[in-house]
Amino acid sequence: MPQAASASRFKNILGHLLWAAFAILAASCLAAIAINHGERINSAWLVLAAACTYTLGYRFYAKFIAARVMTLDNQRATPAERLENGHDFVPTNKWVLFGHHFAAIAGPGPLVGPVLAAQFGYLPGTLWIIIGAVLGGAVQDFVILFASMRRDGKSLGQMAREEIGKLGGFVALLTVLLIMIILLAVVALVVVNALAGSPWGTFTIAATMPIAVFMGWYLRFRRPGRVLECSIIGFLLVVAAIFAGQWVAQSQVWATVFTLSTVALAFCIIIYGFLASALPVWLLLAPRDYLSTFVKLGVIFLLAVGIIFVRPELELPAFTRFTDGTGPIFAGKIFPFCFITIACGAISGFHSLISSGTTPKMIAKEQHAWPVGYGSMLLESFVAVMAMIAACVMHPGVYFAVNSPAGIVGATPAAVVATISSWGFPVSVAEMQELARGVGERTLFYRTGGAPSLALGMAHIFARSGGGQAVIGFWYHFAIMFEALFILTIIDAGTRVGRFMLQDLLGHVHPSLGRTSWMPGVIATSSAVVLGWGYFLYQGVRDPLGGINSLWPLFGIANQLLATIALCVATTILIKMHRTRYIWITGLPLVWLVTVTFTAAWQKIFSPLPRLGFLAQAKELQRALRAGAVPAGQMALTQTLIFNARLDAVVCGIFLALVAVILVDSVRVWAGILRGTRESTVAEAPFVLSRLQAEEV
């Protein structure tokens, strides 16, 4: 016995020593990337810093939350067990559910946001991604998943209504609808900017549509139920389309057909969005959704392997001169704009919709919420770190030449390289031409939006993993295809969901409008949603500052405000559970987000700098118009730009007002409970003893 006790004590001490060594390694890696300013740094430091910090956060912080705050109890039957129906309530293996949940939360956000935020240098964004995820994003996902699981899988809106009040529920629904509109516009803009003037890319993406229709037919009539088989065929056809795209780009006739301007592409996507949301789901949306899910997971895995294998050096510095707010990609200082540019990857309000959607209905044991809720967000954060690495392996001059709009850096290649070189990031026209030729594009100037530079970085890493420069064009277009594929899936699914939400809201005005089977109502609401995001998309492509400058911050603010709502709900639930001493767990990220988003929104509306403040931009354009400084041919466009700037200010103001309402409402509820003037009822489902054995799942 004493021998066993001493062995156990030795094991304990060894365990503590190992974790202490791990903590020292994490701290060393973070210090290495934070202190090493003068020289180029290897990306392995970022990967190690992230991996070590995530492991510590998962092992200690998440465990603390699971054990002390939520008191996860495997004896308690989950909704998946109690309400099992074979459809949505299904007890699922935790690692399968982990992958399922990760596939649902991983969108273009963690890939594009870090690429744009790299204009501040690699350090601020990387630290925010790692620390934000461990202390904020993963906590939000975990707590909301837990809360929904204890409430039979209720949605965020339902929980807001029950825990905060009716107003909270209505505000949550309205906020989600508005965010959807901005989200769809901004992701569509990313695709438009990636495909403009690119016959290879445009052909490949256009080809995915008949391929998806073929897959839909195959799955519906030829081999029903064979989704994996159908997805493999679809994937092979898409790869063939990438190769065919190279031939199209080299053909005199076909290259002209597939070379489209940003405006033409925007209209194509708007028409596509309407048709896709009205077509039967099985024909286009569902088969492409399967395909994009597999491609997304496969590419993320490939990128991770590529980065670990190649370990490229980061060319961008830790900080650039643009921390002062004068960046060419988007205007605004590092605080608050770094923290709203990177939302998904650090903390994203959208995740709370997934964590209170399908996932809570599939959890077999309460303890599984820990890896599924907290762990999958850490993995998404790691994806964001990889995107940051992919952006930073480019020469800074190339990075800024690709991502800067003509309105900032000049309308000719010579002007662009002169401007960017004058910032201390040398780049030449010949270098850019050589790069464009290498990836099979005519030009890489003004390719704003993040997707082309991410594709360049990924192609660089993939090509170095095998094949070299000979295959860089294939990898570039493969990466563009991968990004566009799941963005288009988001657009048609989002338009459909936006239509349902609008019908839900309008159903209160007139019952017919709420019926999803009433065709005039369906067409009217689909059109309203498409026109909504289509207008913002059109605004983005006509914006001389590149569109991303206005739309991405608007999207970031909206997304983070949704996270604010989720954290308000989470904090309310903790208070009602008598866990007031732990409210800092959700309270601190909430205070941070409120500070960041309200500052950013205030600056976007009221900053006196025309590049930053919407109202200042409108005022300056108005002044130019009155002074006769605008050429006759540009008068109508200028009027539109003035209207757009004011519209953006109003949208930003509405977001702020909506979230202020829910924040005040929440504080009122908290104060009432803490003072004892309000009843503190936990709306959890009653305890039922679990009969499910661990080995059954």
Partner: protein, 58 residues
């Protein structure tokens, strides 16, 4: 070797889950149905209705 087999098993289950093939198998078991094109189409329609009434993540 056993660990590798378990890992591959989880990966395969994940792929089938993402492809809704597991959900379809559960559907057949629950209602005691045999696979047929009509049954698959009814299942797929119901599944899509549920899936595409929720926003996709950004």
């Amino acid at each position: 070797m056993r660990n590798l087999r378990a890992f591959c098993g989880v990966m395969w289950a994940l792929l089938r889950e993402l492809a809704d093939e597991n959900a379809y198998r559960r559907h057949l078991n629950m209602y005691g149905l045999a696979h047929s094109p009509e049954v698959w189409r009814a299942f797929a329609d119901e599944r899509a209705k549920m899936r595409y009434s929720r926003p996709k993540c950004c």
